[in-house]
Symmetry: D2
């Protein structure tokens, strides 16, 4: 509403009240202005009404929402379904242009602003989360794996001879495939066992660089966040090797933004050595739907090169999600989530420790892993071949999601490469184990339910091992409402094995 509208309003109802309302409107506008001028995440989260006003204002700046627009092109932001238009707040043109995913669209000033502001906010949050010297980043509507691929494809043009990517082993398919998809040969560096932890074999890395010749190495591809007992790579040392040999360094920081330790490693790596880009998932760090990642780095022009490597426009949906989320939370809200995650990590550790001891098992000592924990399943493994997998299956049917059992001796072939001891990040870990993680947004209730259900499942598996009949075990158990899903688990074994990989 403009000045004339307010004047007309004053004639309809009392001027004093309209003025009061008009005044109130200014506080919303004030917040919007601050955001546009500073490009920083507001400290306090915005009210839903400010947020929707802002999105509405941006949307009407896009040509598909012009009241008088006539479109005679092949891409005019027309929408067939009102449901679809509405769920996107009428942002239809996506982000970017043929030339560059960060570029401004003439037809869509609003979407372009949305894109710029989102990237700016995200940069602010990365700094806040610990990588203070990051200089540029952008949201890309692809998950972490494909985003890593894009980084590798960009490096290809700078390193024409390169054929190999050096990669300290981590048993997760996407990041492995990201190298294959980009057309490079992954050179797997096995981890070394230090206490219970699996850590980067720095000597092997350097030896491999020398063996292959630095020019033939596209980059070192390291990892922060990972399942225990693997721990984040020794980023500082890797960064120094990269600097020394002039090799790029791409860090897979998938769900590391939520951990100050992971972020600190990146910050330190960049300070003492070389990190070209680090890639993180939107959904895992910002509690938004799957499908976006942030590519960030310390060298403005390299990050721009990557963004120019993306051919064509792209979905604005992940950017919109993270924008809404950050504006709702504010930086204080996000910090609070980080703090709570850390507390939940301690709580989860303690509860698992207690439970494991009651079953003669042990929480692995992995102090370098700030997110994931592992507890041994030795007693299960000894008695019965399939007991470990069965436990996984039982947890799955009891609606425990994300718990991951790792049996010994699993072998898997991914894109032609064979991994022994797959899922455990090493050929031969000393024992089977179970993983659980404290990720952002976890609640105490998650931990409590998990511990309770794990307890029951362990008890049940034990009983079965002691040859007690299935009937008896059902009777002795105190069934509660959460357990209504309880039923023979064997049928799910195959399913589960597939599920947990």
């Amino acid at each position: 509403m403009n000045r004339e509208s307010f004047a007309a309003g004053e004639r309809l109802v009392s001027p004093a009240y309209v003025r009061q309302g008009c005044e109130a409107r200014r506080s919303h506008e004030h917040l919007i202005r601050l955001l546009l001028e500073k490009g920083k995440c507001p400290e306090n989260g915005w009210d839903e009404s400010t947020l929707e006003l802002f999105l509405h204002e941006l949307a009407i700046m896009d040509s598909n929402n012009f009241l008088g627009n006539c479109g005679v092109g092949e891409r005019e932001g027309r929408v067939a379904s009102a449901l679809v238009a509405r769920r996107h707040y009428r942002f239809i043109h996506g982000i970017g242009r043929s030339g560059d995913i960060s570029a401004v669209q003439p037809k869509a000033a609003g979407s372009s602003l949305l894109n710029k502001i989102t990237n700016s906010l995200v940069l602010d949050i990365i700094k806040l989360a610990g990588v203070h010297t990051v200089t540029n980043c952008f949201v890309v509507p692809m998950a972490t794996g494909m985003s890593l691929t894009l980084c590798f494809l960009t490096l290809r043009h700078k390193r024409p001879k390169a054929k190999y990517i050096i990669w300290p082993r981590i048993d997760q398919k996407s990041c492995f495939k990201s190298m294959i998809t980009a057309g490079f040969e992954p050179v797997v560096i096995e981890n070394v066992l230090e206490g219970d932890e699996l850590r980067t074999d720095l000597k092997a890395v350097e030896a491999k660089v020398q063996e292959l010749g630095p020019d033939y190495v596209l980059c070192i591809h390291s990892t922060t966040s990972c399942f225990a007992p693997r721990v984040p790579d020794r980023l500082e040392e890797l960064a120094v090797i990269c600097a020394n040999y002039g090799i790029p360094h791409i860090v897979n920081n998938a769900y590391g933004v939520q951990s100050s330790k992971c972020m600190h490693l990146i910050q330190q790596g960049a300070r003492v050595g070389r990190i070209d880009a680090f890639v993180q998932s939107l959904d895992k760090n910002f509690m938004v739907p799957v499908g976006g990642a942030i590519i960030a780095g310390f060298n403005d022009s390299f990050i721009q090169e990557i963004s120019k490597m993306y051919p064509g426009r792209a979905s604005a949906s992940p950017s919109l999600d993270v924008l809404i989320t950050l504006l709702s939370l504010g930086s204080n809200g996000y910090k609070k989530l980080l703090k709570e995650r850390k507390e939940m990590f301690s709580y989860l550790s303690n509860q698992i420790k207690k439970l494991s001891e009651a079953y003669n098992e042990r929480l692995l000592h992995t102090p370098h892993n700030p997110i994931s924990l592992a507890v041994t399943l030795k007693t299960l493994d000894e008695h019965h071949d399939e007991a470990v997998t069965q436990l996984g299956s039982m947890l799955f049917t009891r609606q425990v999601s994300g718990a991951r059992v790792v049996p010994l001796g699993s072998v898997q072939t991914v894109s032609g490469y064979t991994f022994r001891g797959f899922m455990s990040h090493t050929n031969n870990y000393p024992c089977a184990y179970l993983n659980a993680a404290s990720a952002i947004g976890m609640k105490m209730q998650d931990v409590d339910l998990f511990i309770k259900r794990l307890d029951k499942c362990l008890k049940a598996v034990r009983k079965e091992q002691s040859k007690e009949s299935d009937d008896n075990y059902d009777k002795t158990e105190d069934v509660d409402i959460e357990e209504m899903a309880l039923k023979p688990d064997n049928v799910l074994l195959d399913t589960y094995q597939d599920a947990s990989s």
Copy 2:
């Protein structure tokens, strides 16, 4: 977004594009300004994005949406559920104040504007629909019956001696009860049969006025829209009687806004005689949810008196619905709906006429009823006592809604008054019949499906009458997907009888 925000935006993306977006914003604002300045329904319906922008702008003028508000009263527009807040576009304070449902609320400038504008738009539409000299109206969040009660209660204060309301009979419970609830004694004037039509018995009305004495009559309570074969009351003549005897005249125009004939009657009545207020349903005339009515009239101060009679605040929900609807449709959209309704009326007449002749029945000749039609059910009635009711039940289970069968001889007692021939508006209509209406929003598909299903039902009832077995009839019928609900109907007989009354 204000000037500074746009300036900041220009620094983030190209100034030319932002300016283009800013320009586009002005066309939305232009529409809003026109609305506020003129208070008229826009000719062309608004885009959803203009509409939502407008509602959003109004809502942030209410104190419950002030970012810095602190509330220390007993009614602060707090909302527990975000779903609820959102579905009301964050308008929480309702409309009106203790003193007057049309009054402005200091805490809620936005809701107050919404209320004023809605009333203004609705007034505009009533004029457009044919009552050109209407001077004031307001939306009240009560259905037609309770709104009539409010009118009667208002009149009570002006006519202390009055005990009776003269009411040409129409067999619909709400309008009858509206008089009982207000504490008056309805004086029922039986209709006279002219051809097939049931029409106002003017002589009886005037005789009754004289008999009771004008001062003891609160008002004449007449009706426009009604089920055939009753037709709208002779409003002109009634208005003249009212003028002559100094008796107020309240018109129940329930679903008459959609018919130019009904509106013309009101216009003429007011021109030649006296009409104090006419009341119409929101849902039946404007295709919004049940729950609101419009009280309108020709004397500004009397309408204000009624609005001041409503004690306290009221729901803004019906006002919001009709505002959204009228702004979406525009006056052109509403006119189009009126035109289509008229066309559907002709189409429905023709189709029913054809069908009825095939069954040796007859479309009653009721040219004065512009909305409702009646077709005889003589042949059914002759053979079998319950056949008429059974037909109604069969239509109901076949998802024909709104068709209404009227058997002979039904007797009903409402609030202590006994009506013979209830549903037929007269003690003894010559034959049983079926009603169907062409109301606003009806589609050709409604008519076609109705005719098809009626045909099948009539066929089925006939067969049963001819003692053909139920089995045979099922086999001969070509079942289609719409008919999947087909099943024994007798169980529903009682249900239906209840339903159709």
Copy 3:
């Protein structure tokens, strides 16, 4: 999705996962079943997804949402605007029928269920809130005032001689007008001053009953929740008088559900004497938009009579709001809100007490009022005529809503009755004062902001009184963002006087 759909789903993705999803669906269905079977508010609030599933399931049971429906009536639940349909979850038919607002609609089984369940839930909550022996209640889409009117209109039919309503004075327009609108003569009983409190004059009530004659008294109309220093009426004693003289008793419990004290009074009144109905606001007690009330009582058939007195259908909107709210909160959530309100009341008392003492004012001692507080404005009043009103105006422009200043000597005429000392519930309260209340949903932040702003305003008014220039006062004040609205307040004086009445 039915059995066949799930089977088809199992063929598309893994059967084990579909079964897991199907299992999960059952927990939603379980909650819905419990609700329908027990008709009680669930202890724990429902998830938004269960809630929306439930509403969706109900909505498709209404004929306007039948895929194969054809409508040939005058009220078919057609909706012109998709926005409107959506905001009502496609419930279009409203609640009730011509005969009864609680009746079931043949065309709308879903809406009918919604209505029944809502009334059942609300009854459960009224019991939980303290009126354990309530037997029946219903939600009516009218605010408290009009709902009281409906009660009075119902009583009229049972007490043909009655002309008067005995009403211990409370200075709020709606409840006064509710009697006028119903056509009765309010007999005002002035309150008596006990300490700081204004309490019911029982002797005067009884004397008036005898004077007028019980048969000529429609009912006693008492009040619980009110602004201090008035306190809830002596309900027990009034109920005994009613029982003794055979006079109905209607209680205005506007925002009393939130206070265990008010509810206890009603419970006790009903136990020892007579209460026919008690009426409460939906918005003030359940944090939903303005526009609904609950009419409740201890005699099933009398409550049904009232519901049958409402002529015609009504809006389902208030019922839907309270249903969504209660299902979201659960009874635990509602109890938590009640508990927090009580705590805020103590906090507000303490903070006001402290502040008032700093200004040589005094928190009035009103222990019987559980919601509203009053603090004297003696020092203001002494110096300057308009200072009290100006304080109100200053608070208003500083976005303090709900604070209410009560100057001495205000006279107001409502519907022909003149009230001296209007707003203070008595002709001559000893001093001017300011009201603040702790209502459901109030946050500590509300209290803190209020105290801070009140402090500033009092300081400013004092300074002005001490003839210090306006300029000086602006300079000395530490302006913060909340204060940006600060500006000359005199222009608003008239406005405010209007606003606070």
Copy 4:
């Protein structure tokens, strides 16, 4: 609601009405079952309520919506913002798994079903649109360019020697960059001029294959939809060359689904020769937001290979959009849109033809291009260097979007390759021209406004060329509301040049 819930419902309201509602529910379920069983686009579009019921049912099958779920993994589908959850209908887990974008997710049976069904529906529509023998396809949440890159990356693994991609020139950056990004060297084949049309130089293609050696050619990358006067490539002949030389063939069918001619070319190419995959935009063909594409082909296993090449999960957002859209439209709705597009193409042709003749210009004769038209701007070009660009700028500021002026002699370097005559698909087209297209969803109003505004702009440019002062021109023009954006256009020249490229 399950059986028990309905039974409980029958006790609350009449059994007959509940059964009627229950029956009605079955018709929704019937549609859902058909969809899941057949996997085909329904002929008639679904009602919004069926659609939302379906999405809701799917969503509650995902573990993040399980009421009893406890999550202890790193990716649990938690959502911080309710707005975000809602806009995705609570589908949070995205689609695909580490191994394959088409794979099923154990944690998300609902999202997995959504993904399968969407791909199945889209396949059905591709057949319906003309490529009857397509065997597999999948939606990928990347725009056309990146999707082409993914195809090329997949081919890399099958053709280790390949370095080149043969590409008949089309001046659009994304598709050119898609090859660069994949790490291949584009070999540009210049088009030949036939009449006004620019067509594939088949001889040059074949010669280039022979010159480079088939093994060194990754694939031929051809194009269907394009701006006139270029026309779709000679797909049949190219497909034969590919078959003969054993070279893969990837078709960029960006907005070709909407044209039966483009689809026919693909069908024919596959029949007589070799087409490995064809890629089309979601937004341009299905009126959804930018950000998705469909990769389709005739060899099931090759399409699967591509889907397995995508490393990791991906956004479900584009799939959800196209699913909603197709279910809303139904195949009949989509066919109607295709038919209207064709009609609009004729209408646009005729209108442009008329207008151009009035200005002594000519509609280029490009019968092979079914979507885009070009009209000469000879007269502009002769007089004044910048007149052509200025026309573009004027159209832009007048809210004509998508019109594209192509001046002579523009030179552009993309990723190191220099294109002469850029935008015109050839080094030296005979004249400057203007493009307009009839794309799906275009309305007659778009054409009429375009013609009107183009007329005004041409008139204005002419006048300027005739040295008439700017002032005069403003005065003589009849300004209407659409023209309010009218202002000096020169400032926008640079902007526009950027915009139109």
